[in-house]
Amino acid sequence: MSSFVLQAKQLTWSVNNIDVVKQVNLNINAGETVAIVGPNGAGKTSLLKCLYGEHIQFTGDIYLNGKSLTALPKKEIAQQIAVVSQQSNSVFNLTVLDIVAMGLIPHKGLFDLNTDEDRSRINQALVKVDLQHKQDQQFNTLSGGEQQRVLIARAIVQSANILIMDEPTNHLDMYYQHQILALAKQLNITLLITIHDLNLAAQYCDRMIILHEGEIVADDIPEHALNQEQLASIFKLNCIIDKNPFTQKTRVTFAGINEFYGEKNE
């Protein structure tokens, strides 16, 4: 049996005969934090959707803890993979408690009622994300950072061993970007995160996968994955790579569009 918790082999996913994800090979180890980065349209979200079973019409293979994903019941996948997707607002104003309690769904049968243990799990999750005082507040009235924390609390209740987060730092200010990623790291489970900010990815992730036009062009620790020439080519912007003086982690600084084309014209 494979030692990887999540594995993709020759994974291709197409829409309207266009390959959005191309021949991707991916191995995720237990407890690892992996960032999937790349420009808009690189196929990051599509790749994630294949990995958690939302896109099923793919070619190639995906294995979850050694078992083929397509052969697993949806409920079993949900018991092992929790997903925090990009911000979603419901037209009905659900409370924080309503959403966090949804984490119990994959573990409950049709006739099961909530037990004291379930309520304690929900409460512990709310304490962990520091939202117990807002449990009766409506989800739609929370800030972007708080909404992400609610979804993380739902994932905690879901008790999955893999957490997939699709651009969790979008629309958040600096403080909340760091808060969300630090919180996810504290869970000590396998994390797979798509993110636009390369520096945040380098700071919080053990490994970076760079996706470009549906293909993996780099898969390594941040120091090695972030290559100046490759990044300049992928993002069409000149850049320099150095160390963040606070964290000593790899840091990328991009030039503006004029600087890049100016240099190119010379």
Binding site: S85, S90, V91, F92, M102, Q137
Partner: protein, 336 residues
């Protein structure tokens, strides 16, 4: 449609709320039978319920006329309100209503087709024809949805509206070209009434409503998962398309069987869930049971108004629910 419906942050504990609602139900069931053309005081009603009636005529009026009618009103109101709550939650559309399926239009077509039958069998065949017409509408919609990309909720709602207009236009054509007397009967039936209340009506409607309520309560947790988004529900292991199809069939069955006997009673499914949500919240199980109970009481009182507002004449209940519903609809749109 993007703004969420606001709920008060502090809610009454559910147990207390249920006690209040059960008291309202009890009060409704006992007191509503006292109203009607023949005035029977509360004391006489209470005596009939607890001992035996003071006069034999009270016995006939209460137990053979008003009680079955009140019971039918309660069960029909319960079913229509439940179907509305189910539709709104499963489509995440606060303006959804079971009638969007074209069920009333289908029932109307079925009822209209009975005008071609001999007059002696029309009275008996009308509910059956209406039921078959309702099911025709549902089958057409489900076939359309299974053929196309039916993952999108908008397709479901638009398919319902399209089928509704199609069936209504056929009905209008038949009524326009048909016999005036039979047409009048169908038009009056479409306005809704509980006058058909008898054991057969209850025998058909009650089991459907009870079974549908039970299934809806069992599926409550799964239906809750749909409230955020389809994608979110799928990540929780929910078979979204299958769950939505089951729920739609439940709504269709409830509405079709009620419409067959009671005609077109509109807007209850739209109104009642909105009235109840601020007190019990959004999640399914609590919403379904409370919406049903309040919907039942609402229709019983609407029927009381229908029977007593005009001297010696009954107003079709569909007229009253439509009038109230339209005003409510406008108020709801203003709030959104």
């Amino acid at each position: 449609m993007s703004k969420a419906i606001k709920l008060p942050t502090k809610k009454l504990p559910f147990t207390w709320l249920m006690l209040i609602i059960i008291s309202i139900v009890f009060f409704t069931l006992v007191s509503s039978v006292g109203y009607g053309v023949a005035e029977i005081g509360y004391q006489a009603v209470w005596q009939c319920v607890t001992q035996s009636c003071e006069k034999p005529i009270y016995d006939t009026i209460l137990w053979q006329v008003r009680f079955p009618r009140m019971l039918l009103g309660f069960v029909a109101g319960f079913g229509l309100a439940l179907a509305g709550a189910l539709m709104q939650n499963v489509t995440r559309n606060p303006l959804a209503d079971p009638y969007l399926f074209g069920i009333v239009a289908g029932a109307g077509l079925g009822a209209t087709l009975t005008t071609f039958l001999p007059e002696s069998v029309q009275v008996f065949s009308l509910p059956l024809a209406a039921f078959l017409g309702s099911m025709l509408a549902v089958v057409i919609i489900i076939l359309i949805l299974l053929q196309s990309n039916w993952r999108r909720i908008e397709h479901l709602l638009l398919a319902g509206v399209a089928v509704s207009f199609l069936l209504s236009s056929i009905t209008s054509f038949i009524l326009y070209t048909g016999d005036a007397f039979s047409s009048n009967r169908v038009i009056f039936w479409l306005m809704g009434s509980l006058a058909r209340a008898d054991a057969t009506a209850l025998l058909w409607i009650l089991p459907v409503v009870i079974i549908s309520t039970t299934i809806a309560m069992i599926l409550g947790r799964q239906l809750d998962a749909l409230l955020l988004s389809d994608e979110s529900a799928k990540t929780l292991g929910i078979h979204v398309e299958k769950l939505r199809l089951i729920t739609l069939i439940l709504c269709a069955a409830i509405t079709a069987v009620i419409v067959s006997y009671c005609g077109g009673i509109s807007f209850i499914g739209l109104m009642i869930p909105h009235i109840v949500r601020p007190f019990v919240g959004i999640t399914s199980s609590k919403l379904f049971i409370t919406t049903g109970l309040i919907g039942g009481c609402f229709l019983v009182w609407v029927d009381v108004i229908a029977r007593t507002a005009l001297d010696g004449q009954e107003i079709p209940i569909g007229v009253i629910t439509s009038a109230l519903g339209s005003l409510f609809f406008l108020a709801l749109l203003r709030k959104m």
